[in-house]
């Protein structure tokens, strides 16, 4: 894929729908072996919310692997990027310290692959109802008649 096409792809994904909902179906088996493990480690490190159910990260990783699996370009980019991560000494990803994980991700953060994963992960995590619960976002209120009588102006800490 040419760089420009790639940017274009990220745009249509940017802010938007394809991220969260679209494709849990595509190749749920995902990426096998070490790469799969590595990818799920990366997904968590991007937005590590300690109190967020690990299921959410697993779902996001699964959708992500599905998409990568369907594209030869993305698969090739992933292999390159994950080689850099894996080549970071003899430790396997789960055994790295937090600092080592961050440092190795910083090495690939300028790559198109990293940006693709970041974009997808962001959409997947922050569109997820479990994350909304964690952050205190109540989402659609149409079914409850809006926020007009449901906390629109319930603030109680403002000084006089």
């Amino acid at each position: 894929m040419k760089r420009r096409d790639f940017l274009q792809l990220t745009v249509s994904l940017a802010f938007a729908s394809l991220g969260g909902r679209a494709a849990a179906d595509g190749g749920a088996a995902g990426i096998p072996g070490d790469n799969g493990e590595l990818l799920s480690g990366v997904v968590y490190q991007l937005f590590p919310h300690e109190r967020l159910d690990k299921d959410v990260y697993e779902q996001v990783t699964e959708q992500l692997s599905g998409k990568i699996g369907q594209s030869a370009e993305l698969t090739a980019m992933m292999d390159d990027a994950l080689d850099v991560l894996a080549g970071n000494g003899n430790e396997r990803w789960p055994e790295l310290t937090q600092q080592q994980k961050t440092a190795s991700l910083e090495k690939i953060q300028q790559t198109p692959f990293f940006r693709f994963v970041l974009n997808e992960t962001l959409g997947g995590i922050y569109q997820h109802p479990r994350t909304w619960e964690l952050l205190g976002f109540e989402g659609s209120s149409l079914e409850f008649g809006g926020y007009i009588n449901r906390g629109l102006d319930d603030i109680d800490w403002l000084p006089e």
Binding site: L118, S140, I155
Partner: protein
């Protein structure tokens, strides 16, 4: 449903069904003038509008390729819609008039180096009656005896902090959103998803009002998924027809008496540039060389405060809060022109995307966990026109219609940088006055939402594209009906002014047609 034949040269062709196009089409058709409206997007049913930001983004947005350069975000420089109703399906409905000085920027601000500042060829008094009609049509709160919307938590924080900083003119704004049912539209339930399209129709959009009203006139035909690609002209300085592609990619030509182009600046400009000909080698109506130049998009930045208690900023209409105190012109602040503070909402996803674009990692996740306690506002300020800020055609890249991709180039003028610094500091103080634990500035992260200037009005054909009616100097029956007309941007969100100009233009055009002078 009314239908016109392709060779019916008596019709006015209106390109775009958003704020400008929807308004012009409604007035013309109800004046008895036949109108064919070409709209590149499809038409959503009320049931298609759901309170889900990500899903609606996919349904509404113009996603064909565009390129940004300078500080315009490269892959997505401009945010607007491709759907019946245009970006009024998605907008946040702030409807504020320009101030007197903003019609005379050149006279007030003087000769600002590096800019192409100009006075408007009309003054506030000329537009006032049309503003009033526009406010009535849209049902703008705080005008025509319409109440303002109730305060939300985000507004209450904004207001309390602003008062501590000495600001006085603060209210829930002038919004084209019904606090109570009016004009066949329901009342706002404070759903907080205004940019997904209003599921209850409380927010004004040409989709709910002007287009149905035009359809009832019996003089209006809407063609959806109809992308205008070229304007044809004869040797007598008249547009004769509009080439457009239908949903199957088939090319048609609609004959016409006059054309009103309202494609939302980027597309309006692209259409003129793509309609170049032997007589107009630099683009149609571009003898002045000004088409595509002087592009403005407002000084725009965000301020997010992490407050000591819960705010839940997502509850309620997006932009129901304005501080007006900084909108005047006062060189003592170190810059010319003024700006507004406006409240704004973010969902968790849009917060994660814009708070620190490209951000990731533990600290960022921790910051986002403060979502409930975040309050947010925008700064919307006047940006001076500059010749180099422009919309042009990419030399080689084509979009899915086979048209050259538009390239949007935008840089800040020094005046804008000073205004930004001042505005961000004042915004920060508003939240700090209430004990904010952290304040984050969002600078140069948003795609443009307000687009202006690339077919400017003026009295001199050598330095402007259109006259005060939006009629091009070069072709009598070619009109521009969107923000491209603005010689300068002022600091008010542009749509109310686009609509006031469109109303004025539509009556002028009706007169020309009915008196057979066109």
């Amino acid at each position: 449903m009314t239908q016109f034949s392709l060779n019916d040269g008596s019709v006015v062709v209106v390109i775009g069904s958003g704020a400008g196009g929807g308004t012009v089409a409604d007035v013309l058709s109800n004046n008895g003038v036949g109108v064919v409206c070409l709209e590149a997007g499809g038409r959503l049913d009320p049931a298609d509008i759901v309170t889900n930001e990500a899903e609606m983004f996919g349904k509404l947005t113009w996603l064909d390729e565009r390129q940004g350069s300078g500080i315009a975000p490269p892959p997505f420089p401009v945010w607007n819609c491709k759907t019946v109703g245009g970006t009024t399906v998605h907008w946040t409905a702030t409807s504020v008039r320009l101030s007197e000085h903003e019609f005379h920027a050149r006279s007030y601000y003087g000769d600002m180096a590096g800019t192409t500042l100009a006075d408007w060829p009309l003054k506030l008094a000329d537009l006032e009656p049309w503003y009033s009609v526009a406010e009535d049509r849209l049902g703008v709160t705080g005008t025509h005896g319409i109440e303002r919307l109730p305060a939300s938590n985000n507004f209450l924080v904004f207001e309390a902090g602003a008062k501590r900083c000495g600001y006085k003119e603060i209210n829930t704004g002038n919004l084209a959103i019904n606090p109570a049912p009016r004009d066949g539209r329901g009342s706002c339930l404070q759903l907080g998803f205004c940019t997904s399209g209003c599921a209850v129709g409380a927010k004004w959009s040409t989709l709910h009002t002007d287009i149905p009203s035009a359809e009832q006139s019996g003089h209006f035909e809407l063609r959806t998924e109809a992308m205008a690609v070229k304007l044809n002209h004869d040797n007598n300085g008249r547009v004769t027809g509009v080439d457009y592609l239908d949903s199957d990619g088939k090319l048609h030509t609609q004959a016409t008496r006059a054309v009103c182009v309202a494609g939302n600046t980027v597309e309006t400009t692209r259409l003129l540039l793509n309609s170049r000909s032997g007589q107009f080698p630099d683009g149609l109506a571009n003898r002045s060389g000004q088409v595509g130049r002087n592009y403005m998009r407002h000084v725009m930045a965000g301020v997010v405060g992490v407050m000591p208690g819960q705010v839940n900023l997502y509850r309620g209409a997006h932009q129901a809060g304005i501080i007006y105190d900084e909108r005047h012109h006062d060189e003592a602040r170190g810059f010319s022109g003024g700006f507004l503070f406006e409240t704004v909402n973010f969902t968790p996803e849009s917060m994660a995307r814009f708070l620190r674009p490209g951000g990731w990692g533990k600290e960022y996740a921790k910051l986002l966990e403060q979502y409930e306690r975040m309050a947010a506002m925008l700064i919307v300020g006047e940006d001076p026109p500059m010749a180099g800020n422009s919309i042009s055609l990419h030399p080689t890249r084509k979009d899915r219609y086979g048209l050259p991709v538009p390239v949007i180039h935008y840089e800040h003028h020094n005046n804008s940088k000073k205004m930004l610094r001042y505005g961000l500091d004042r915004g920060r103080r508003i939240y700090e006055a209430l004990g904010a634990e952290q304040v984050v500035e969002m600078v140069d992260v948003f795609p443009a939402t307000h687009n202006m200037g690339t077919a400017r009005m003026g009295n001199d054909p050598a330095t402007s594209v259109c006259n005060q009616w939006g009629q091009t100097h070069d072709l009598d029956n070619l009109f521009i009906s969107d923000g491209s007309l603005f010689p300068t941007s002022g600091c008010a969100n542009p749509t109310l002014t686009i609509i006031a100009l469109a109303l004025r233009q539509a009556e002028y055009l009706t007169e020309l047609i009915q008196s057979n002078s066109l």
